[in-house]
Chain length 135, copies 2
DNA sequence: CTACACCTTCCCATCGTTGGAAGGTCAAGA
DNA sequence: TCTTGACCTTCCAACGATGGGAAGGTGTAG
């Protein structure tokens, strides 16, 4: 199975598969006589694991750690849970920040007439001298 | 007022001020005889506008458009509102995605014992073959 | 005069991803 | 067999926004 087929099978672009290999996320695959990368079932399994972890928004560093734990049959689930909860905490922070931004911005937009007139609370607000954001 | 003072006054690092200038977000400032950039009140005002727009998470492209509208006294508020609402929509999408990720991940973590035992629903889930994320 | 803080331009790194160029390989059809 | 087209290979570069740092000039205070 060459890289194009593996890409189709896993949903990871061939470019990305090579990149993951280059940063040590994936082991170098076998090569055919002419140098083509060749992927077997286990490699595909690993690729799908990476794919799903990316979907979850894990960083490369986190995925590296998860892969290590994944292939360690004696890993304590504590370590995996810690990584997951760390990511959940990151997500919560991000969500909160974005929600706050959205609320302020939506409110400004609500108060903007949105017609031909130049007056606009949005620009008015952007003019504000606010060193601490969104106060 | 040189770039360092402008940076302190606006909260934008000097590096970023130069970068914004290089991409055409800011007009080239006056220079002293020895080549130092010199910022006046209007330039500071513009910088603060950019700072606040960044705080809101607007992209450089959006900020460019907002700056253009800002300096156009006859702009229709409609255009500003459209940019703001577009950004609100982007934020909503992102918030929804992240929330969904967080919920799934938090649930997996909740079901993970998190002790010395190797069994772990998180890794179990990451193994799944899921082409469409989070189904 | 010297020290130090600042300024200038330049290049490089990040992170994850995408694009392209230049060249080799494979499989199908004429 | 030759050609065509789709694939593969490696390498280089860009994105957006930011940070670090080198090498060299400038400003100011002691």
């Amino acid at each position: 199975m060459n890289i194009g087929e593996a890409a189709k099978a896993t949903g990871i672009p061939a470019k990305m598969i090579r990149y993951y290999e280059s940063i040590g996320l994936l082991p170098p695959p076998n090569r055919t006589g002419s140098g083509y990368r060749s992927y077997d079932g286990e490699a595909l399994h690993r690729l799908r694991f990476v794919r799903r972890a990316r979907d979850f928004g894990f960083s490369m560093k986190q995925i590296k750690a998860l892969l290590r734990l994944w292939s360690d049959r004696k890993r304590p689930s504590r370590e995996v849970k810690a990584i997951a909860l760390g990511h959940v905490a990151e997500l919560n922070m991000k969500i909160e920040q974005l929600t706050q931004l959205r609320d302020v911005l939506a409110d400004l937009a609500r108060r903007c007439s949105g017609d031909h007139r130049p007056h606009c609370p949005i620009l008015r607000d952007l003019e504000r001298d606010a060193h601490s954001p969104l106060a």
